[in-house]
Amino acid sequence: MERNPYLPIPVEVVKITTEVDTKDIKTFRLAFVNKEDEESFKYLPGQFGELSIYGKGESPIGIASSPTQKGFLEFTVQRAGVVTTALHNMEEGTVMGVRGPLGNCWPLEYLEGKNVVIVGGGFAFTTLRSLLNYMLYEENRARFGDITVVYGARSPGLLIYKDELAEWAKRKDLNLNVTVDKGDEGWTGREGFVPTVCKEIAPSSENAVTVICGPPIMIRFTLPVFFDLGFSKENIYTSLEMRMKCGIGKCGRCNVGSKYVCKDGPVFSLAELDKLTKEY
């Protein structure tokens, strides 16, 4: 029989990065304890894992690293409940578990040959970062058209992946737009809400797909902007979150209609979501 899907894969916390000045969002770099697990853990951007801390439980979190980065996984986690609090209290060197990769991925094949607009808000930039790094990877970049990123946070201190943002800003093959609702003394960048910035940049819907993740309020005000730009519901993708336990479509709580977010999602196009019940 195949590997027991309930059995966490042992990983060691090798690096912890505090992402924001409120200190409640950290990125955990996890290295596989066993080499063979690393080889068998084949994932794609958009998939998630169940972070497993024995004695506390499990929490489903999107994978923030890209499969093009070898030797480790990264998860960016906000401290919120029992498991994520335990995770935040961990030190480098601790051994924990991860189950996965779980769920579907961003529509990578569909994105090939198209222009891609990535829209992210707050700390919901994790699997978008995975997607971005995947597309920017040297061997992959030519397969995708223009890449536009709009990423916003409430304040400069709440932007995550600051070092990478600086690196991406230097690239010529990427149109990066970072914005904050309100800047501080040191902020020289753009100010404004994500929907407003999207409207200003006005990416063409011609041969283009938008991938969007963020707080519901941001998504609600951003979608009309993209509809006005001519993006169809088939060409706007997002990722859903639900309470989960098993992550493999059995425990019965993350369904939206007949679909399980854990197994049939978390990535859906708006056209697909329209066909589902509005209960998420």
């Binding site: 029989m1 195949e2 027991n4 899907p5 309930y6 059995l7 966490p8 042992p10 060691e12 801390i53 024995y54 004695g55 506390k56 439980g57 499990e58 919120a80 409940g81 994520t84 961990m90 060197g93 601790t94 051994v95 924990m96 578990g97 979150e241 639900m242 309470r243 336990k245 098993c246 493999i248 479509g249 059995k250 425990c251 019965g252 709580r253 993350c254 369904n255 939206v256 209609g257 007949s258 197994k263 019940t277 509005k278 209960e279 998420y280």
Partner: protein
């Protein structure tokens, strides 16, 4: 398929014979209830039963089970032992055909092409199911024929026993069933007369089913009416006690929690219920199903639409337990019938 005859007076002895080298679960009387329990050597199965109060899904999908054990080490909590692969051979004797059918439905979920559930599958593979057909359906609340079953259905059974009057016709349906026959030894072969009697009983038992519901017919309405005023009516009396989901042979929703005591711990899977508010409560405070109306709609939709969409079968076997034991008399038969009239 082997067909044999078992004399009525020898059935209890045959069951007892199995207890010598196998774990046998059979209906036994425990105070006022009839439940499946391990038949200790020498103990008699209770045969004049209608059905057990609890569904036998517990044998393959326990109400609470340890998935794995862990212990504290200098590097943190580490895995000590995977509890998968420890299932034992067992015989489940005297399962009613509705309950045996529930195993086929649970198989569809736990033994999907992708994501196989080793705990369930191993128990299931190591169990031999002996069904006892309902020549006279035991309750007025039985409605198996409306949801794809039959009082003498062989679904999910390795052996089906049919009461022919002074003897049982025993049909050994699978390799596991035939292995049981080998243990029982020389039983007289069934003749044509027995076949004829059985054929007549198939018709007669079906005609004795008193409850019929349009279980399949409401699917088209459910497909279109997630939002409908009807949903505002069905949950009004519901106490959200979860009895229906706990007694249901096909309800399979579960929770996973960790328990720790003195540096050792276990990860436990236990039954959960869509009738509970916490079932979908997220850490952020958001809850997709905040009202009992939404939870009742989920329960009905899951059984009569979602499961049908995913596995092409209704997730209900018509045993009637939820009807009999609901403390406020909510009757799923009435709800389904009412929907069919909308």
């Amino acid at each position: 398929m082997e067909k044999r005859i078992i004399k009525k007076e020898s059935l209890a002895d045959l069951v007892k014979k199995l207890t010598a080298d196998m774990t046998v679960y059979a209906p036994v009387k425990e105070e006022d209830n009839i439940v499946y329990a391990v038949l200790e050597e020498g103990k008699e199965p209770f045969l004049p039963y209608k059905n057990t109060k609890d569904a036998p899904k517990n044998l393959f999908f326990p109400q609470a089970e340890t998935l794995l054990r862990f212990m504290r080490t200098p590097r943190g909590m580490e895995l000590e032992e995977d509890e998968a692969g420890k299932a034992k051979e067992l015989v489940l004797f005297g399962v009613r055909p509705c309950d045996a059918r529930s195993f086929v439905l649970l198989d569809a979920l736990f033994n999907q092409d992708q994501w196989k559930d080793p705990y369930y599958i191993e128990r299931r593979e190591k169990a031999t199911v002996v069904s006892l057909g309902c020549v006279h359906p035991p309750y007025t609340t039985c409605f198996c024929t409306s949801v794809g079953g039959h009082p003498l259905s062989t679904d999910g059974a390795d052996v089906l026993l049919t009461d022919l009057g002074d003897s049982y016709l025993a049909e050994f349906l699978t390799a596991k069933g035939e292995a049981l026959l080998a243990k029982w030894g020389d039983l007289p072969k069934a003749d044509e007369e027995a076949d004829k009697k059985k054929a007549a009983l198939v018709k007669q038992s079906e005609s004795e089913i008193q409850s019929r519901i349009p279980g399949k017919e409401i699917k088209a309405w459910l497909d279109e009416n997630f939002e409908h005023p009807f949903w505002d009516t069905i949950h009004k009396n519901c106490l959200a006690c979860g009895t229906c989901t706990y007694l249901c042979p096909t309800c399979h929703c579960f929770d996973i929690t960790d328990e720790v005591k003195k540096g050792e711990g276990k990860r436990v899977r236990s039954w959960d219920s869509c009738m509970y508010w916490l079932f979908t409560q997220e850490t952020s405070g958001h809850n997709p199903r905040t009202s009992q109306k939404q939870r009742w709609r989920q329960r009905l939709m899951h059984k009569f639409k979602y499961f049908v969409d995913n596995f092409d079968a209704i997730a209900c076997v018509g045993c009637g337990r939820c009807v009999m034991y609901c403390p406020v008399n909510i009757d799923i038969r009435k709800i389904v019938t009412d929907i069919s009239k909308l």
